[in-house]
Symmetry: C2
Subunit: 236 residues, 2 copies
């Protein structure tokens, strides 16, 4: 973790510890620099990161303010982190239904950027949140990039293993979302009825060097999932 | 529009004109600076903006590469732009069902950050994409911030009017998403059956100074909407 990322984490902790609310003002830049004992450059980068993450907003000539949603029980929807990191306030568990090393199916190959027949780890899991079924997840990891996985790892956080044990740098992701009626098979896994609503999110995860390494398809239990996105004005 | 934003727009146009694909390499930094005739600072900021928007990715020591999803027909899901700007490749139309100036309902007031009873413009519209029903939208604009709206404006792009005619600076937004079964009323508007699946997105839009000015609730027609998010590694 780089210095400015560390500083950003400390400021987040400060916001939590002081129970700051939406619109509360943070100390001015000079004071933050003194308080966290970093350079102006580091503090500026830390604040930019927090702004992109939707933790603060900065108003020129006015100050730095806290953003905080007051709704509870919403999952933060951004994808380059695994569930575990997104949902630190919740009890997340997994039940592994399938775990095998297989030649990549043709219809999957183009999504994960592999040659057809290239070996991939196929993992099918039910994920639970606070004891309720959250989703059914099917994912495909390219063995060329992720040489080894085992049951112990996949029952925990796969992404944490990729980063800490394999030293992979997880970069960007493309997410595709649609809503539809559940098939009998998926409904069965989620303990819902065929035809019930389901949100499906397909994600292609890339390393920072641009290589795709994981394709996952997640269907959420509509009664146990709701999402929040703290977007900012980057796109204007 | 600031200089670096202008440059970013020109680079996007360059990518389109040359029909560059996912993974294609852009010219090196020095060449981009010469080609677009801007300073190094401006070009660096333009590239950072494009990276945040998911248009490019930069690999240290290797180069600048294009990100481009090869799936067609997906709506880009980020919220601070209106539909019109997000969906330039599509024919977007609106049918205004209700347009009135009302005292803010109690259950809406806390979402839009207004006092109960404060006057708001309430607008209920059906939005169409390429001739199909895309969604039902209900939105509440605070008159204290948006003093005037009329039918002509709301049949077009409200956000464009807010920015260009009123000079408002639209900042960040909080989006809340959930999936459920359609009520009879909403299903009727979408020409679907009661109990069919629906994605509902509530959004609170803020000005850059942090003041909320618009609360909207959109329910999408599940057969006519699918979304793409090009996320990046900001959160790691």
């Amino acid at each position: 973790m780089l210095k400015y990322q560390q500083t950003a984490t400390e400021i987040e902790a400060y916001i939590e510890q002081h129970a700051l609310q939406q619109g509360d003002k943070l100390p001015v830049l000079e004071q933050l620099i003194r308080q966290f004992q970093v350079s102006k450059t580091t503090m500026t980068k830390a604040l930019e990161l927090l702004e992109r993450k939707g933790i603060i907003f900065q108003v020129r000539g006015s100050g730095i303010f806290v953003r905080k949603t007051n709704r509870k029980g919403y999952i933060k929807l951004f994808s380059t982190q695994g569930f575990k990191q997104n949902l630190v306030d919740h009890d997340i568990a997994s039940n592994v239904l399938t775990f095998e090393l297989i030649p990549c199916p043709d219809e999957i190959a183009q999504n994960v950027g592999s040659s057809p027949g290239e070996m991939v780890y196929y993992i099918k899991r039910i994920r639970y949140i606070d004891g309720n079924i959250l989703c059914l997840e099917e994912s495909y990891y390219r063995q060329a990039i992720v040489p080894y996985l085992n049951r112990e790892i996949i029952e925990q956080s796969i992404f944490e293993y990729l980063e800490t044990a394999l030293g992979l740098n997880i970069g960007f992701s493309d997410m595709y979302m649609h809503v539809g009626k559940l098939t009998a098979s998926i409904a069965g896994h989620l303990k819902l009825e065929t035809g019930d609503p389901g949100l499906t999110i397909e994600t292609v995860f890339h390393l920072t060097n641009g290589r795709p390494f994981d394709y996952s398809v997640i269907t959420y239990h509509y009664e146990h999932s709701q999402f929040v996105v703290q977007a900012n004005g980057l796109y204007l």
